[in-house]
Symmetry: D2
Subunit: 338 residues, 4 copies
């Protein structure tokens, strides 16, 4: 950390800061300047004590130097994380496709979607049984019944299952069916839920919150890793900004940044990212070209009659066309589509 004093700070105030730093068990390094003094701090292992110093008289700012995350950081774990899931894998150089409807609406539609996707070579099926909905009066998902249909879809096709958990109560139930447990954007900082998921042996797909900074997102991943779960997948799905031409603002530039700071894989969700099916293909191609580890996209047998997220769901035909346009680019990039 670096303490910056105001130009008006008195020598006594500088002395008090030095004293407090020593009290905290750290080492102060006074750097006198032309108009003000700065004090470097070494020996600390995190931001502890920062606030305690920031409130001392004469202190203008306390600047953090070391990153607050440990297990997610690429600084200590330089190899990219990769692991097998169902009949495929995530991370480490491939481009993993996850597809399926927003929510499991009935047995027929989820099985039909799974059969179609399996024929397309997709290995992972998404579908929500528990749905976070803005209105208490909207369809909230089929719950356990939905999980049974997902299980059925898996047994009929061999696809792995990706489904969302919204609370600690349902983790055990979802663990039985899911191959990847999804944490939605609204729950990125639901810490009791993250702690519970740190104890599961299933991979966790952690969506970035609508107002999530890179640091908060990586710290949320750190929560999951800190309990022993090393299989965390990051997922960018658009953030909230002033821009109103898409449902959210898809932040593809976070791909190379995530790559720089962490070893965890990153997927892109262009369906929530844009909110419109017609914009999904170009953002999917862009995700591949930018170096993402894969996609999670919404596909529905009949988007016009979807109970939720119809406008952003691809039809089977649209998915096939998109898939076909991904392949030649993946080939020249030498990235296998998984």
């Amino acid at each position: 950390m670096l303490v910056v004093m105001t130009p008006q700070a008195t020598p006594q105030q500088v002395e008090d800061v030095v004293k407090r730093i020593r009290e905290l068990g750290f080492t102060p390094h006074v750097i006198p300047g032309a108009t003000r003094t700065a004090i470097g701090i070494t020996g600390n292992r995190g931001p502890e004590g920062r606030e305690s110093i920031a409130t001392l008289p004469g202190v203008l700012d306390v600047i953090r130097v070391t990153s607050p995350y440990k297990l997610v950081s690429r600084e200590t774990h330089t190899e990219p994380t990769a692991f097998p899931v169902a009949a495929t894998r995530v991370g480490g150089g491939g481009f993993t496709l996850i597809a399926g409807p927003c929510s499991v609406e009935n047995e027929k539609m989820i099985v039909e979607t799974a059969v179609y996707l399996a024929a397309q070579g997709v290995k992972l099926l998404r579908g929500g049984a528990y749905k976070p909905r803005t209105s208490p009066y909207s369809f909230q998902g089929l719950g356990e019944e939905g999980l049974r249909y997902l299980d059925k879809a898996r047994r009929e096709t061999g696809l792995g299952i990706v489904t969302e958990v919204m609370d600690v109560e349902n983790v055990a139930r979802i663990e039985e069916v899911a191959d990847i447990i999804q944490v939605g954007a609204r729950n990125m900082q639901n810490y009791p839920l993250l702690r519970r998921l740190s104890l599961t042996r299933k991979p966790v797909l952690l969506k970035r919150g609508l107002a999530g900074t890179l640091e908060e997102w990586l710290m949320a991943a750190e929560y999951i890793m800190s309990g022993g779960n090393r299989q965390v997948i990051l997922c960018e799905r658009g953030v909230r900004t002033f821009a109103d031409h898409t449902r959210n603002t898809l932040d593809l530039s976070i791909i190379p940044v995530v790559r720089k700071y962490t070893h965890l894989p990153i997927l892109i969700d262009p369906s929530h990212g844009t909110g419109k099916a017609e914009y999904v293909p170009s953002m999917s191609l862009a995700s591949l070209a930018a170096g993402a580890d894969g996609l999670i996209v919404e596909v529905h047998p009949d988007p016009q009659r979807a109970v939720s997220d119809g406008p952003q769901s691809l039809t089977f035909d649209a998915f096939s066309r998109m898939s076909a346009s991904l392949r030649p680019i993946a080939e020249v990039m030498r990235v296998p589509i998984l």
Copy 2:
């Protein structure tokens, strides 16, 4: 709802939209225009069917006309909501002060703070026993022990208790101690938690999420009200924007807007809103002048040694000065400070 067709839409496409609207049980009203056709819809009671229409060929946009919230709306419940809490009340024309530390750090500090605040005429004490922290390695609150200390503080001073709940598991435990249960900004859209709180008889203070729109916030309140809990308090605590001169951007303009659309009371949290104790007094005065129903502010016996949120906590002296500056303005506005 209003359906707007593209200029290229064919008469057949218009006919298909009309047909779909009738299938949904609503009444279409075709409005032909110079360059395009619009179709008004009546008979619907909410946004149901909107997505189903939006995905039809030739449709440019489907615009919602009626508001999606019912119980929170001022349209049907025109009187402001007010209710008693501990020895005071919230809503209906007074200015309720809630004060206390970010977290309960030990028995001594919380009791000392309560005694001080009681002497200042404050009737409600805030203090967190369960803390949502960005880092898994930071202090996470004293949990049940913290609740016991809050209970002690109440017994010694008669102050009502405001404390945060982070998950369904702890609701019953917190209900026993709290006079108002707080839902933090990160949990504004934690729907299982909101549903559980719809069943408690304690008032719920619902903070606005960091990226929460007015509509999402009111819909979150609707979740709580829809289960039978009529005692919801809204709390603005700053939203996340590009601005970096304060911790968050405190959106005081939402006060008159909330007043217009809902009967629920609204408090302001200038401590999280600004993130710096020195900016809290002016934002507190502004909240009063703008017509808020009260404040929730952080006060700590020794902010420099606070375990969390020290920089934004007022000292006892600073709180006394702020309190003194509120009184004459409240008087000329004829708003009793509660």
Copy 3:
């Protein structure tokens, strides 16, 4: 400045940074740490050389310590800036009211408004002759004709004139009529215009840009001051965020922050800040309570027929009511309304 090296940085890379700092004429202070090295820099007077260091191998970040503004800074000029304008003054403890229509639509309406405002004790009239409009097909202002009507309004009432300049060409013309020259939000970083205004002897009211950070805003003021014009007035008018319940998000918390960092006066524009006349009174009261130096509000004899900004313009009656509600609060705060 403080240079932070990556944990992998080699001793040679640290050495290269030290060398570059010396080349730039500054003094390096190496601070070795447990996991990485930091290097403090003294002797520099601004951010020069920052980028040159940031691109060296092994450098993670270069953190700026000193503020980049000089003339606007409160560090060197501790007294608040105040100056007379027409028959009143701005800054230094009063609350200055500026009112009038968005644009000068014709002679009758501007004179009528001026007469009304003068009777209300207002001393400064706003009104646009040159209007920045989003559409090239919208009314663009009366131009010189509008300036003549403003001049007429001044001669009939003695009010000082506040009017906007959009380009260098018109500065001389506007200088003749205006007592305060307004720079709109879209021109906050129109540097050729700011440079030209640094040479005028008229005060400049500088609106904050829609995406303007505090630093950018103060640097824009620095442009004006750097040419010799000491009479700069800052004006907050809302920024652009995700929030859609008001036209912009009025950032009142910038009032105490501006007070801390600069000696310049700050006015609030609640009309653009909220975009709705009904929200203007509560935000005006809040601005006063928060310590602003005054207001600039839109008032129109017949908002329903206004050519621009009708929905956010107060009627004469609404202005009178708002004015009456400001007075008692100003009195107890001992702030004269000017």
Copy 4:
């Protein structure tokens, strides 16, 4: 337009709105509903009269249905705009590369860069002679001297020149040298400048403002087109959001949206979009894959010694590598790199 009345609106208020619509020369269509009335408006050609209706008693909202832009709209001009520039072209299916330093620092560096780029097959050189700088104390560009060096670079290499104009005064001077005149993000809504550029015969590259919505951006293009200049190029360069891991938030999802609503070509500026050279290549590949019409990237012979924007400038080597990685993708997409 569609007028939505409040549920409390009286029949008389509905009647008054109908009357006002007729006064404006439009046709009202009353749509009675269960809880409220809506009134469709036809016969209008733009948003005129909208505010006049919005302020009538009983009106909740006035919703615009038709788009406000005409010349830029794809609705009337369905073919993509394409035109020749220097020895290449922009729009209509190719991927045009523009590259060069942030600012022209001296003759040697700009000629050296041009020679290098020409050897790489690049046909358009960027370089600023007039620079908008946040600080009045920073290097502001070489001005006319810089234009002479650009001209020299052109004569030596045959490259076309892309350079920024900041004010009306310099348009004529820049027209002589530039093949494409650039309008920077800060000037997107500098309407006098846009009007002046509507009269030039040179193509204009219009950067999106830091807080520019799609509609504002297209309306700014409409300003340029409305005076007769049909050669407008849109350029996305990142917008300002809460995200702090990149300098701006590059909004690639605007590519397919721009394609949908306008016939104008769109380029991407990944250098300003990310602010870091290391993130530029992946965002360049993503831009190509997403269907952009080209790139404008910063390249500098020695970024560590660049006077401005060093951290985001590619070295010659980095540009060559990026260029090489674009080619195979462009080939499989059948998009010629221009």
